[in-house]
């Protein structure tokens, strides 16, 4: 065979400058800037006195003295722990029970529970909290009103403005997450282990208690840590339910310190550093546990055919639990919002009120002069940060997983670092950072864009790493053997194959950006409000009816986005070759 070497010569490369260093260098610099710089400013700020017109800021330990040795501090710390632990435990118990029923038993109505994966995405925390206030506040709560009417008394049955109320709302809100985490754990467990127990003569409760839950224990502990971190980061629930009755946790205290007059940024920073230490510890313990867990895993690469336990007549009980849960977490909160949005003034459901149904509140919201601007801000921010996060994390995931660049593990860790930032802490850190370095972003949409990109970068990383791992390395290598350069391989093979994952990740980041409240709340200024901020302001103004209308519209919009994401996942889900 003759080789037409001349004609087949490969395009000339310019060996002087390799474009890949730019593509690797730029993300490294960006991630360093995004993840580390605000952290440094936060630490620095926590050692400064407040700057006033009269006196410049000075180095001090006062903030930490105030944060740690104030007589209320022990109370604050215990409140935070009690709230986060309680909510995490509630979420875990509910989520584990549901996951077990769904994965391991023949309970009817299971199909309902695939909807569960969607709920936390569709109902933002602030709306869920507001809905529960309408359901269970001492004065206007529908649950109280109904029970009072039933028993003919004035007694308050449930009070949502309490530690128990906070735990209830936050725990319920995170229970779908616990459900998903535990479902994954149950799925990776060999059903033969349970069948062996059944053959040994164990009953269903015995199997569940002595085999299934024991094997799921490491996963449950890991889930508990994740839920704990999420709960201690929660802002909406402590702010709406705790602050009015003086139950303080770290997040609400940070918010208050900033909104004090004069604003006590140093104290807020000292609280934030404390909170950051707690979340870092939680995340570190969780990742250690995950590593340990993989060493003792009973799970092999073997595929299991899911088999379920026959509950007999008890399956009607579990079905009832399912439906009750669905009512409590989806139906009640959503319906109460819909009901309120259809009223002119807030009032409890009655025949009289039924006659007064109107769409005025929707009209009112749409007629707000700033409404168009607010929606536009939300959309621009969601689209911009989703696009940026998706592209940036695709490149980072590729560098981390597919190249042998030295130091790539550092890049991986840096990109995941924002996971430890509670939204409020990130907002504070970024606020301090760009107040100090004046590059003209403070008070614009850009500062919120920076916050969103930082906050959601780890989510993008997770989506992209997962889909990158599914692409067989040989698909890239065969492109190289075909003569394709590095860039051509990335553009023609890697990116097209990543498309389903990229799209799903993109829509997910859009959704969480639109719902985002806790970091935006410290960063918005007049003119840069987003939808979630508008909800917050409506709440502060007591405009419950308009808030409900806006909430219902937001839920509908998010629902459409989630459906799109699911559709995209299916439509572009190509089979592995």
């Amino acid at each position: 065979m003759t080789h037409a070497v001349g004609r087949l010569a490969l395009p000339d490369a310019a060996p002087r400058f390799d474009s890949r260093w730019v593509l690797i260098g730029v993300p490294v610099a960006l991630v360093l800037w995004l993840a580390l710089v605000p952290l440094v400013f936060l630490l620095w700020q926590s050692f400064l006195t407040p700057q006033t017109a009269a006196a410049p800021a000075q180095l001090t330990l006062e903030n930490y003295v105030a944060a740690y040795f104030d007589r209320d501090n022990a109370r604050l710390f215990l409140n935070s722990l009690q709230f986060a632990t309680g909510a995490a435990l509630l979420a875990l118990v509910v989520g584990t029970g549901l996951a077990w029923m769904n994965e391991r038993t023949n309970t009817p109505f299971k199909a309902l529970f695939f909807a569960l994966a969607i709920i936390p995405l569709v109902i933002p925390g602030i709306l869920f909290t507001v809905a529960w206030i309408m359901l269970a506040s001492p004065k206007i709560g529908l649950v109280n009103l109904a029970l009072q009417a039933l028993f003919g008394t004035d007694a308050v049955f449930v009070n949502i403005y309490s530690m128990a109320g906070m735990i209830w709302v936050d725990g319920l809100h995170y229970s779908p997450m616990a459900f998903l985490l535990m479902t994954a754990a149950f799925r990776s467990m060999d059903p033969a282990l349970e069948e062996q127990a059944a053959l040994s003569g164990a009953s269903v409760p015995q199997i569940a208690r002595r085999i299934t839950l024991r094997l799921a224990w490491p996963a449950a502990l890991g889930a508990l840590l994740i839920l704990f971190v999420r709960s201690i980061e929660s802002f909406e629930v402590p702010a709406l339910l705790g602050l009015p009755v003086g139950i303080h946790v770290y997040t609400s205290s940070i918010y208050q310190a900033i909104h004090d007059y004069p604003s006590r940024i140093g104290l807020a920073a000292a609280y934030a550093v404390t909170l950051l230490l707690i979340t870092s510890l939680g995340i570190y313990a969780q990742s250690r546990l995950a590593r340990e867990g993989s060493r003792f895993a009973t799970v092999t690469g073997k595929g299991f055919r899911p088999r379920t336990i026959d509950l007999g007549r008890w399956r009607y009980v579990t079905a009832a639990i399912f439906i009750l849960y669905f009512v409590v977490i989806v139906l009640l909160p959503f319906l109460v919002l819909v009901w309120t949005s259809l009223q002119k003034f807030y009032s409890a459901p009655s025949w009289a009120a039924l006659d007064r149904l109107s769409l005025d509140s929707y009209r009112a919201v749409l007629d707000y002069p700033q409404f168009a601007g607010v929606v536009w801000n939300s959309l621009v921010l969601a689209f911009g940060s989703a696009a940026t996060v998706t592209l940036l994390s695709a490149v980072i995931a590729w560098v981390v997983l597919r190249t042998k660049v030295p130091g790539r593990w550092l890049l991986d860790n840096l990109a995941s670092l924002p996971l430890v930032f509670p939204g409020l802490v990130l907002g504070l850190a970024i606020m301090v950072c760009y107040l100090t370095i004046d590059i003209g972003v403070y008070g614009t949409l850009w500062i919120m864009f920076i916050a969103y990109v930082t906050r959601f970068l780890p989510y993008g990383m997770r989506y992209n790493s997962a889909s990158m791992l599914q692409i067989h390395k040989e698909l890239e290598e065969s492109a190289a053997m075909s003569g394709a350069s590095w860039g051509m391989t990335f553009a023609r093979v890697v990116l097209p194959l990543l498309k389903p994952g990229l799209l799903a990740g993109f829509i997910y980041v859009m959704i969480v950006s639109i719902r985002e409240l806790s970091s935006s709340i410290l960063l918005y200024s007049p003119g840069t409000e987003v939808v979630s901020i508008m909800i917050w302001e409506l709440w502060q103004n007591g405009q419950y009816v308009e808030l409900s209308a806006l909430g219902v519209m937001l839920i509908a919009a998010l629902f459409v986005l989630v459906l799109l994401a699911q559709l995209a996942g299916r439509r572009f889900g190509i089979a592995e070759a």
């Binding site: 065979m1 080789h3 037409a4 070497v5 087949l8 010569a9 490969l10 395009p11 490369a13 067989h472 040989e474 698909l475 290598e477 065969s478 492109a479 190289a480 053997m481 075909s482 003569g483 394709a484 350069s485 590095w486 051509m488 023609r492 093979v493 097209p496 194959l497 498309k499 190509i574 089979a575 592995e576 070759a577």
Partner: protein, 368 residues
Amino acid sequence: MLSVRSLFTEYANERGGAVKAAQDVSFEVPEGKLFTLLGPSGCGKTTTLRSIAGLEKPTAGEIEVGGRLVYSSGKGVFVAPNKRNFGMVFQSYAIWPHMNVFQNVAFPLEVRRLPRKETRERVMRVLHAVQLDELVDRDATKLSGGQQQRLALARALVMEPQLLLLDEPLSNLDAKLRDRMRSELKRLQRDLNLTTVYVTHDQSEALALSHEIAVMSEGRVVQIGTPRQIYEQPGDRFVADFVGTTNFIAGTVIALADGRCVVSSAMGELKAHASEGVGKDARVIVSVRPEDVELSEAPPAAAAGDNVLKGTVDAKDFLGDYLDFHVKVGDIVLTAKAHPSLRTPTGDAIYLRMKADKCVAIAGDGAR
């Protein structure tokens, strides 16, 4: 054409330790020949192939193809894989699932910026050669295993590579299809006169396809030879054991002359072919293939070069087209392949004849 000289490849494992994947690997492949790297998994054959491809960077050595140095640790040469112009078929085939059959094959020509018309002609020509021209617009994911394999081959061939590299290309196919693809691959290689390096752990594939075989073990090349040499005169206990099945008889050399020797063993004295490295009085093992142990109920006529022994039938396995006889001679049990017409009952006496040049004495202490 291809020359690999003293190649060493190491890579770090998860703990940071060094895994020695290829150790002092050297071989030459002449123009137009098919050369096979044969060995069990983890022997370094794939690493060696990937080093030739440029997908792996060796730690030391030299690789030269057609007078062009593509890697040299001494001269600091490393040509990137996409500049080497070698075709490769991967074990998974690595068919791009987002492209159809035509797009997969056209890719190597597109990245070389060939005119569209010429690309079309060459793609169709190579698809015709692998009999996929009917399926040109089919989604690549909708092909059967055999078709995917041919598509991968077409993609490797379309760029008229200087060298063709095949990484276990038949291992993902079922047995019948594997046999057919094997002969097709052989025909294509011979027709196009392509210099080819083939990696496999399947000895029958290696024996059927290759001009020459290098048997590898633990990162080293143990023996290089034609299929016949490898099978009939294994130079090493590992080679004898890995390639085909064999009987091992331990013993000591008591006479040695002109590449022939006499070995004293528990079965008595055996005349054998002495492989390299066998000296007088050395401890050796004698390897003899089951099909080279001829059985008969009556004493056979023994020529000068034959070993004739008497044993008893210990056990028999009926395998359809032949029978495995396990014959006990002294304390040693030998396996012999016999025609199904031989029906000697278990426990009866039987005669064995083994030609001296089919018994290969290999240096070693014989300890199992």
